[in-house]
């Protein structure tokens, strides 16, 4: 099986051809070592950082931005999203606070990527 990718490691954007031959993965077209690594990863198990928001109550924002502590398998992305979209938090939240530990048994945590203070929700009068 042969697959083609655009390397996203640097702006060169090398066109990679990755192929499995006799149990060995061969990367062609890469300009550097990091490109080879990327090619192998993309071929076997493409991974991405996950960023999105979760619902938060009691702050000046209605959503808290979150980020994964490491890359996660791309083909499970929507599974993680679904799990994250069920979360409802109460402010305050500290940056780095774990929102979901070991999401989908991946060994990677989802953490808050900013702090959010609690605010008093008072009805403002005109």
């Amino acid at each position: 099986m042969k697959k083609e990718f655009t390397c996203i490691v640097c702006p060169m954007s090398c066109a990679l051809t990755v192929e499995e031959k006799n149990g060995e993965i061969i990367v062609l077209g890469n300009g550097c070592k990091r490109g080879k690594e990327f090619g192998i990863n993309e071929f076997t198990d493409p991974k991405r950082m996950v960023t999105t928001t979760v619902k938060v109550m009691g702050s000046h924002l209605k959503r808290l931005p979150v980020i994964s502590t490491d890359e996660l398998p791309l083909d499970h992305l929507f599974v993680y999203m679904h799990e994250l979209y069920q979360v409802v938090l109460e402010a305050p939240v500290e940056k780095g606070q774990i929102i979901i530990e070991n999401i989908g048994n991946s060994g990677v945590d989802i953490v808050a990527s900013r702090s959010l203070k609690q605010i008093e929700l008072k009805k403002e009068n005109a």
Partner: protein, 420 residues
């Protein structure tokens, strides 16, 4: 009216302003104040929840808010004065700022130095001349980003994105993850505006098609948008008859470019560069008015926040030196000029007498080039050569020139790029 005296006033609490304020404070300036119009510091970074920020500075892949967090903490630690929900109405050439908020009312702030760090704003529908009606459902990418990431609302169920710059690409992924159907990304130019890696991870990962040399020519619907018409364009970017296609959708996301926000600079009558649409600055990012500095996207739209922070620091340092009387403004400045294939350079002027050991020069190429050589010449004599595998218009380039290479009598420094 409240009257205040400050040493350095920084207008804008985004990445440029934060860096400028912190650096000025570190350089020993006593009273630094940040005037920020929003309810919190961080600027547009607070709505950039995606990763990829701070690779240069922190060696980590942070989200925009994560990146801002580091600076905001530093501002708090250093006891820098912050005025939120504060709008600057006017700056006089005597460096007096009129600013206002709900608590202080109108303030007259007399400043030793000023750093302009107002950032940039998005181009609108009218500026790209899309014909048709004016229904609801036409929003800029930044507005959509704010609604989705901060306020938690979806502005539509099916979207078309115009513009393949990074903001457009990021929003394609973001909307898809939030359940909005992204019909496609349309780009009037023949080449994408954004980074290749973003095309890969924002579009290809989600099978979102990109249509090059194609644009939105018409918006339909009187009150609510019913759809858009797209068409391919010719060499002159004019729609080709017969290629029109109607796409039913309730959201058109415009990612059609950013413009430095320079209303205050213009009112102050600082000298502007028509190429960057920002103030002309020197090696300390000082404008044509002594003591008034500019940093970040107000100077030119950078694509990396790391550069924005760097220019903020340069300006902050400059403001401190200005107050300390360390800047010699008597000698004429040397011009920095864009040479072959270069669109613009920043800074546009240098005073070697004031400069630090090395001077970073930011520039963009006019078109995509591979295997290039960047050269800098001083009055025609080459003082620096550097090879790069690729040069792309969407990517700001930066070369550092050693001060010793620029002799005192030199008149101009020129940066050129050529293949080979």
């Amino acid at each position: 009216m409240k009257e205040l005296n400050v040493d350095v006033a920084v207008i804008g609490g985004g990445p440029a302003g934060l860096a400028a304020a912190i650096e000025a404070k570190e350089q020993g300036v006593d009273h630094v104040v940040i005037l920020e119009r929003d309810v919190e510091l961080g600027g547009i970074l607070q709505q950039c929840i995606h990763d990829g920020f701070g690779l240069h500075r922190f060696g980590k892949r942070l989200s925009g808010c994560g990146y801002a967090h580091h600076f905001i903490e530093s501002v708090a630690e250093k006891a820098i004065d912050v005025k939120l929900k504060t709008i600057v109405l006017e700056i006089t050439d005597e460096k007096i700022i009129y600013a206002m908020n709900e608590v202080d009312g109108m303030m007259k702030i007399t400043c030793g130095a000023i750093v302009l760090a107002m950032g940039c704003r998005e181009r609108t529908r009218s500026q790209v001349f899309i014909w048709g009606t004016r229904p609801s459902g036409v929003l800029t990418a930044g507005t959509v980003q704010r609604y989705i990431n901060m306020e938690g609302y979806l502005p539509g169920e099916k979207a078309v994105i115009l513009g393949s710059g990074d903001i457009g690409l990021i929003m394609a992924r973001r909307m898809t993850l939030e359940g909005i159907e992204v019909e496609g990304v349309y780009e009037v130019m023949k080449t994408p505006g954004g980074l290749t890696r973003n095309i890969s991870q924002c579009l290809k990962d989600f099978q979102i098609p990109m249509h090059l040399a194609t644009t939105v020519v018409r918006i339909h619907g009187n009150k609510k948008m019913e759809g858009v018409t797209v068409a391919q364009v010719d060499e002159k970017r004019q729609p080709i008859q017969g290629t029109e296609r109607f796409i039913p959708c309730d959201l058109l996301v415009l990612a059609v470019g950013l413009i430095p926000e320079n209303e205050l600079s213009r009112q102050l009558e600082v000298e502007m560069d028509p190429r960057t649409k920002g103030p002309i600055v020197d090696e300390h990012f000082m404008t044509s008015i002594p003591g008034v500095f500019a940093a970040g996207n107000v100077v030119t739209v950078f694509d990396l926040v790391d550069y924005v922070s760097l220019t903020g620091e340069i300006a902050g340092r400059g403001a401190a030196k200005f107050l300390q009387g360390k800047l010699n403004l008597d000698l004429p400045a040397k011009d920095v000029l864009p040479g072959d294939a270069v669109n613009f350079v920043v800074p546009q002027r240098i005073r070697t007498v004031n400069a630090e050991d090395s001077i970073p020069i930011y520039f963009r190429v006019k078109e995509e080039m591979r295997k290039v050589e960047v050269t800098a010449t001083v009055d025609g004599e080459v003082c620096m050569r550097k090879k790069h595998p690729i040069a792309l218009p969407p990517e700001m380039m930066v070369e550092t020139i050693q001060l010793e290479k620029i002799h005192e009598d030199a008149r101009e420094l020129r940066v050129s790029v050529k293949v080979g």
